[in-house]
Amino acid sequence: MLKHFTGLQWKSFFRSASFKTEIWFKILMALGALYFIVVFLGMGVGAYFLIEDMELGDPLRVANRFLIYYLAFDLVFRYMLQKMPVTNIKPLLYLPISKSKVVNFSLGKTVISFFNIAHAFFFVPFSIVLLVEGYPPVQVIGWHLALMAIFYCNNFINVMVNNQNGVFYVFAAIFILAGASQYYQWFDITIYTQPVFDFFYDMPWSAIIPWVVLVGLYYGAYTYFKKHMYLDGGLAKKQSEAKTENLEWLDRFGNLGTFLKNDIKLIKRNKRSRSAVIAGAFFIFYGLLFFTGALEVYDGPFWKIFAGIFVTGGFLFSFGQYVPSWDSSYYPLMMSQNIKYREYLSSKWYLVIIATIISTILATFYIYFGWEAYAAVLVGAIYNIGINSYLVLWGGAYVKTPIDLTSNKKAFGDKQAFNAKTLLLTLPKLALPMGIYAVGHFLISPMAGYIFVAVFGLLGFVFKNKVFTMIEGIYKKEKYKTLQAYKQK
């Protein structure tokens, strides 16, 4: 039986549409994965010495102190990204396989998930360093095993609370509060949690406790799933109650308003697009890394422009980047309805512009870091509106990845979304404004640098009609290929 299940799993992995990408991209992905493995390994080895150098105390105790945050992060990441095992078991339900076998296999599958293995790359070298440094082996091994069990506990907790947003938000709120209060030294949660992790080290036999808990959680998840393995139970798609919204205030924009209304609903009602917008909003704070001088590498003058582009362009990059793909599930409708391509494109353009303006207003607080910081933000906004807004639409014509609006899968980096053309188009988005600024900065003055970039942005704005005609042409040319690509889910 296991042979059958594993065989199915194997095929579903290697035959998935997203797996069939270009060979050079696979190589790139492998290199990327390798890079992260090396970084994690390096961190695992280096963490010990780093903590020692900073003279924070016994590295193991320090690690124990902050473990609670590590675990909380782990849980949040899992909640957002880890796929649930229930998918794909529907076709097995009526076959002559006992339910307990199906459930055991589905849960067992989560054990080898990347989200569990990834931690090993950090903790195994860390433990080895501890051993090399002369910590008593029995205690280290006890501690290590206890942690391993705890990560697996996280795994099954996530399986059980999945899709219960209420639980998740409460947890996330507590976690953020704990972090903030620790930072401002109101209340230190680690004082209470550190002894727990220390205990696993001091009394290695106690590692048995998390393992017992783990078995309990597994059993809990098992019974939970078995009980809910019905089409109208755990396997049912969650339906949210729909509200009809009119958004009549947008009617005054005519046809444009019709599309904007639709786009607003698109963003509000679909998981995937909501995540993209939230991710975009976080970019507003990205500039803090630059303007506070938190990172020395970012101190060069033209990095400020880089920051300005990102601070105001969060939505542009996270949403605009995938423009026609958001409508992929009903693209044939859009293409055969009474819609002019130009109207469709300009509604998307306006959406990006409005979002950029809102980000710019929200980013006013950068004025606190001096006029130069805010000038960079403003200039970045102008460049985003004048040039980058076209570039994302242009790049969008070549992005032919259908988006499944209802799931967050692949929300972070879709392989097929990258291709040579879109990669090339990122150059003028980021490198060009930095270059323009550098010219002004070094030849005349920082002020001139800002003015140069702003002028470039304004020029783009002037040529809007021309550029739109060109982009429209490209979309028309790519139309049939795009329709074809969106068919392959």
Binding site: E241, K243, K265, Y330, L333, M335, S336, N338, I339, Y480
Partner: protein, 231 residues
């Protein structure tokens, strides 16, 4: 209304559609039948410029479909669920289509009121998004949406599949009325020979991409079709 000239569609070595000449006059109810892979959906997709012809072209009311977009205002279609926007409620979807076709809310509401028995109380005011409706109900929404804005050409791919018997009967009445009373050219494809013979004045049989029969519907049509498909 619609004329097809030397139209072919080829994928690699495989010719999936090959129509020398076909003319569909205004106000005709036109039925397309054929087995799986006969080219029905391919022809409809070509009519909507969703795929490009390998050779030849289609004229829709003097507009060459693959060259100009001017056919869009008077042509509407429901092919499959990719014509629905899953995250909208049925009402929002109807209004959206209405706005694209220059109809305000009142116009759309007036049209929808004619379809109340067709909807059978399961579509409007249900607090559900289209993606959460059953397949049959989704189809009803798509079909009715294609009637919004007085189109002159309506293209429906397999409109009877997935519908319950009551709805099938009602839909037949609606399609007949559209062609007879309002002069709308209706193109329907189906696997169900009984439905098409009842609804359509003219039936064209496609087989492996080619027109093998072009029949003006009469009392004998059903027998003729059955004889053909029985092989």
């Amino acid at each position: 209304m619609i004329t097809v000239h030397n139209l072919t569609k080829t994928y690699g070595q495989n010719t999936v559609l090959n129509i020398d000449q076909l003319e569909i006059p205004k106000g005709q109810s036109f039925g397309l039948v054929g087995n799986n892979g006969a080219g029905k959906t391919t022809l409809f997709s070509l009519l909507l410029d969703l795929i490009q012809p390998s050779t030849g072209h289609i004229m829709n009311n003097e507009v060459q479909v693959d060259q100009s977009e001017a056919w869009k205002p008077f042509t509407s279609a429901f092919i499959d669920e990719t014509f629905l926007i899953g995250y909208l409620t049925p009402e929002e979807y109807f209004y959206f289509i209405g706005e694209l076709r220059g109809r305000n809310k009142a116009d759309v509401d007036a049209l929808l009121s004619n379809f109340e028995d067709f909807f059978h109380g399961e579509i409007l005011g249900q607090k559900k998004y289209l993606r959460d409706l059953s397949k049959g109900n989704q189809k009803k929404v798509g079909i009715v949406a294609s009637f919004i804005g007085n189109p002159e050409v309506v293209i429906l791919d397999e409109p009877f599949a997935n519908l319950d018997p009551t709805t099938q009967i009602r839909l037949k009445g609606i399609i007949k009325d559209l062609a007879a009373k309002e002069g709308v050219t209706v193109l329907v494809s189906s696997h169900d020979l009984i439905h098409v013979t009842e609804v359509c004045e003219r039936i064209v049989v496609l087989n492996k991409g080619e027109i093998v029969k072009d029949i003006h519907t009469s009392a004998e049509t059903m027998k003729e079709l059955e004889a053909f498909f029985a092989g």
